[in-house]
């Protein structure tokens, strides 16, 4: 059981140049996946994942309290990656006044991709939306997913 999220993990979860994803499963036990706009740390064992609405449509029926979920964050600069597993505490539509911050995070991420030769406007358009779904998750386990020896190991073991 996780005591608290390590600072190294928080850094990758919350950096604008990290690519962040959420996965859960539907009633047929098929995996679902969505791109996130950002992850916010609520406290040492609770995070809030924001999903651009266009990626959330298929997941919405499956995003219910106590549903197990997995979140992947990977730094596009260093390749440091972590997977967080836990359970949904709540799901709500992000208030309109908080959507600007999500768009800002996606713009910063897209701009960071210019250095790697990608088109920032194209990637921003791919990820952005006008509405966002916020999923609050109680974290149980954290795994190191960085491509190196030891990848996949539970950090909080």
């Amino acid at each position: 059981m996780l005591k608290s999220l390590p600072q190294t993990v928080i850094a990758v979860l919350t950096n604008y140049y990290s690519a962040v994803w959420l996965s859960c499963c539907n009633n047929d036990n098929r995996p679902l996946i969505a791109r996130l706009s950002s992850i916010n740390i609520i406290d040492s064992e609770t995070i809030c994942c924001c999903i651009p609405a266009k990626f959330a449509a298929e997941l919405l029926p499956a995003l219910v309290k106590n549903q197990p979920v997995a979140v992947l964050a990977a730094c596009t600069k260093t390749f440091d990656s972590y997977q967080v597993k836990g359970f949904i505490e709540s799901v709500h539509q992000l208030p309109q006044e908080e959507t600007a911050e999500q768009k800002n995070m996606l713009e910063l991420f897209s701009t960071a991709l210019i250095k790697q030769g990608f088109s920032a406007p194209n990637f921003f358009k791919a990820y952005v939306d006008d509405e966002f779904v916020a999923v609050v998750i109680k974290v149980d386990d954290v795994f190191d997913q960085t491509p190196r020896q030891g990848t996949g190991f539970k950090i909080n073991a």
Partner: protein, 152 residues
């Protein structure tokens, strides 16, 4: 509630773009420039999400996925063969969601050799030659393809 209905409408619109076989415009998204994201689920519904270095075109109805680490994904696939992958075109950012069914694991053969060569090239570009070693490949059947972002 209105929020849910609006997004179910969006979902219905997207369903019009469903395809079952790989098309030519997807090939650049399968050249490992933008890493693909892969999700699997255990028998009891616990998901696992990870990056994969290669989603390799085999034929219009099949792809091969590189296995380098993948301990938790492999455990899930031994219980539940369903996979969801996100592919991204490196130039246009066009995105596809591909649903796959795992069919078999291979440790050699022509597809394995081609993927091994490609992975060596990717690793060399990233300066990660020691970290990227191909252990096996997963042959998967494409069961559904949906366009998430049309790239325009």
């Amino acid at each position: 509630m209105m929020f849910l209905i609006r997004h179910q409408d969006k979902e219905r619109d997207l369903k019009l773009m469903h395809k079952m076989s790989i098309t030519k415009d997807m090939i650049p998204a399968m050249q490992s420039v933008v890493p693909s994201t892969m999700a699997t689920v255990s028998a009891d519904g616990v998901p696992n999400v990870t990056y994969v270095s290669q989603v390799f075109y085999v034929d219009d109805g099949h792809v091969a996925i590189s296995v380098q680490y993948m301990n938790k994904s492999w455990k899930n696939l031994s219980e539940n063969p369903n996979i969801t992958i996100i592919l991204t075109h490196p130039a246009t950012a066009k995105m596809w969601k591909m649903k796959l069914v795992f069919k078999e694991i291979k440790y050699d053969g022509p597809v394995f050799d081609n993927m091994d060569m490609q992975l060596t090239a990717i690793a060399s570009m990233c300066g990660m030659e020691e970290r990227f070693k191909l252990k096996a490949i997963l042959i998967c059947e494409v069961s559904d393809i949906k366009v998430l972002f049309d790239g325009n």
